[in-house]
Amino acid sequence: MRRLTGTMTCRATRTRLRTMVAAAMCAAAASAMPAHAQVAVRAETVYTMAGAPLKDAVVLIGSGGKIERVGPAAQVTVPGNYRTLQAKVATPGLIDAHSVVGLAGYLNQPHDQMQLDLSAAIQPELRAIDAYNARDVLVDWLRTHGVTTLHTGHAPGALISGQTMIVKTRGDEVADNVIVPTAAVACTLGSAGLAQQGKSPGNRSKAIAMLRAELLKAKEYVAKSAGPADKRPERDLRQDALGKVLAREWPLLVTANRSTDILAALRVAKEFDVRIILDGAAESYLLVDQIKAAGIPVIVHPTMWRPNGDSENLSMETAATLRKAGIPVALQSGYETYVPKTRVVLWEAAIAAARGLTFEQALATVTIDAAKILGIDKRVGSLEAGKDGDVALFDGDPFEYSSHVTAVVIDGRIVGEGARD
């Protein structure tokens, strides 16, 4: 199965490469480049996301793939052995705070759709790393639009559908580029999390009852596992995973769009003292006080998401509303089941910028604020000395349709050059 996936995707990749104008550099070519070239990015404007934007500035990335220095060109000397990339605008490599790319493949055929297994309602033991296809065409697609870090994994669509992971959008295999093998356990409340054909959960209350029962079971398992050796239970992958959630090691990524579902999520989080990240959260603007009081961050649905079903009341201003209230907010490309098979988080942020967020606030939803919510801000999300050398280069305002990503640097490696449509 795994091999079949690889074969099919490679063929698709070749077709696209043959036919596309600009250089969508495939992952294989990227890894063939010299490791950790020393790179300098010089741009007319550098949005470091760690302070005010810098005019005519340089980002120096050393041979270890880490940023050495960021500052005005007048103050930073670029060593002679560094390759310099020029751009109008440079930003931190973009972070897509929630995607299914790499699991939900480009072809949308059964053999490349690994984001959901519906044999059971609760499967926290399903790991994203066991299904992530680093060579999927859509990984290339996102990278060539500036996305360097991807929070991806099991999709909304089951009460607990599995784990998510955080990965850089380069490399041939998951091991080449994974940052956080398990980032969260994906939980879906509301109609998308219900089972079909008479199976449970058949409604919202049943879903919460099942979730609570499972967490209670895991609590007992954890307690017994810490007890006397002869009383310890057999190892159970499902309980292991939920144990990590109960230990607050892994958050629950709770997809909930209706206000009732968001409230249910807050209730469960409080009862079991688990960490949650709200996802989607179409009606979160109705519950600003409760979400803020609970100290919960929100990865808001794509700004251009279609309003229907549980999300019919979504607003393009939600990111702005939550941010204004002091709630940490990131944007995402989300889960698309058809055409287009993925969104591009850059463009979702662009629309948010025209709907209540300033340019820099919108950029933060796909850089530093996303990194903070995902707990990876020590490595990515801003251009600062010591952080990963991840940079997106643009030939104009990053949000404008007329602008292009002209190069992408990940961990100091130039993984794509040449304007991309």
Binding site: S315, Y338, E400, S403, D421
Partner: protein, 443 residues
């Protein structure tokens, strides 16, 4: 061809004319006074932009547009300094209104009309207005070889479908026919639907042959009621296609499917609009040679279905280069009507010229719907369909601030009720049907 059988029965004619009168009279009635829109940057599409232009509207029509236009003394003035005015957008392929087409009984159902299921009160109509769409081709889905009759609508404020329709000079309601090839209309063996592309083409050819035979019988019968074949609603619609009274909007993605549409259209002498045309860039010269227009869609990533693996933002540029009349569509809800202007921005990103992109959003669509004498550009005598923008039409930061149809404002961003539909919020899409319910993900 003056056979009434193929236009409308007298009673239908009377009904349609009545509706038409109502539709035209309604907006005009309240506007005997002229309205003047002054100081805006006006992009007429039919000519060069006017930096500080004036647009005069009266009785639902454009009276004058230009730099040195006299504002009538009694006109209501709208000072739009800093704003941009352009023609209302023409969306050549949409599924707003929650209507339906053919059912699962047959792959070809020309008798089925979107007219009979369109909900004029759907929030999707409000969202289209918020996106600046003023004329829209509302279609049934693509899960059939022929899923039914489409309607060209004005995005007027209305209670019923009759308030939105466009009546042609001969009394008919403006609309086309939706056809499709490729995988959407191919279904599992055993039913009436085709199992392969060749079978799809054969079924279509068979029906068009039948339609030719039906037409010939009617022609031969003339006024002789005794030999006139019984009325056949499906055949009447197909004869409309053969006679050029009804345009086929042909959903097609792959290069070989596109060429199949060209082949069928040449065999039966109809001129379809190629819809979606994801791989148009592979056969742009063939399309140009056949003289067929293309209505394309720009989606944020390729893939999602095998036929759209190679969809590319450069489609617009490639078709422009080949000299093909090119328009855009939303395929709402595949893309949301509120972001229709994005299509132009994304096409320009990939090399289409600005002028052609603006033309594609307006006049090209008007031509594809045969409505170019009424909509698509800002010219005296045309319908007063226009939008007021906060800035450049192709900038992501630009908002649609006002939408006017037939001289009546149908959307105003400064009105909280209208804004709800522009940005969303509680109740903005209440009860909106899932796209999948329209046609089981077969767009």
């Amino acid at each position: 061809m003056s056979d009434h059988r193929f236009t409308l029965a007298p009673r239908q004619l009377a009904a349609a004319a009545g509706l038409g009168l109502f539709a035209i009279a309604a907006p005009a009635a309240g506007q005997t006074r002229a309205q003047a829109f002054i100081n805006a940057r006006i992009i007429p599409v039919s000519g060069a932009p006017i930096e500080k232009g004036t647009l005069i509207v009266k009785g639902g029509q454009i009276v004058a547009v230009g730099a040195a236009v006299q504002v009538p003394a009694d006109a209501e003035r709208h000072d739009l300094a800093g704003k941009t005015i352009m023609p209302g957008l023409v969306d050549t392929h949409s599924h707003i209104g929650g209507g339906s087409g053919g059912d699962a009984s047959a792959p070809i159902q020309p008798d089925v009309r979107i007219l009979d299921s369109f909900d004029a009160r759907s929030s999707s109509v409000r969202r289209a207005q918020a996106g600046g769409v003023t004329t829209v081709n509302v279609m049934p889905g693509s899960g059939h070889l022929l899923s039914g009759q489409t309607l060209y609508l004005k995005a007027r404020r209305g209670n019923t479908i009759d308030d939105l329709t466009i009546t042609l000079p001969d009394g008919r309601l403006a609309g086309g026919i939706k056809m499709a090839n490729g995988t959407n209309s191919i279904r599992a063996a055993g039913g009436p639907f085709p199992g392969t592309r060749s079978k799809s083409a054969a079924l279509v050819r068979e029906q068009f042959l039948k339609a030719q035979q039906y037409r010939d019988k009617v022609r031969k019968a003339g006024d002789d009621a005794a030999t006139l074949p019984p009325r056949d609603l499906a055949m009447e619609a197909l004869v409309d296609v053969l006679e050029g009274r009804r345009t086929v909007h042909f959903h097609t993605h792959r290069h070989d499917d596109i060429v199949t549409v060209i082949r069928l259209s040449q065999e039966f002498g109809f001129k379809p609009v190629l819809q979606h045309v994801s791989e148009a860039w592979k056969v742009a010269d063939e399309i140009a040679k056949a003289g067929l227009p293309c209505s394309i869609i720009l989606v944020d990533a390729p893939g999602g279905k095998l036929e759209t693996m190679d969809i590319d933002f450069k489609n617009g540029a490639a078709l422009e280069k080949a000299g093909v009349l090119t328009g855009f569509h939303t395929d709402d809800s595949i893309t949301d009507s509120r972001f229709f202007l994005r299509a132009g921005g994304l096409a320009v990103r990939a090399g289409m010229s600005r002028d052609k992109a603006l033309y594609a959003l307006t006049m090209a669509g008007a031509r594809m719907l045969g409505l170019e004498s009424r909509v698509g550009s800002l010219e005296a005598g045309k319908d007063a369909d226009f939008i007021v923008l906060s800035g450049d039409p192709l900038s992501v930061y630009t908002r649609v601030e006002q939408t006017w149809v037939d001289g009546a404002r149908v959307f105003d961003l400064s009105n909280p009720d209208d804004k709800l539909y522009a940005v969303g919020g509680y109740g903005a899409a209440r009860g909106e049907m899932l796209h999948t319910e329209i046609d089981e993900e077969r767009e």
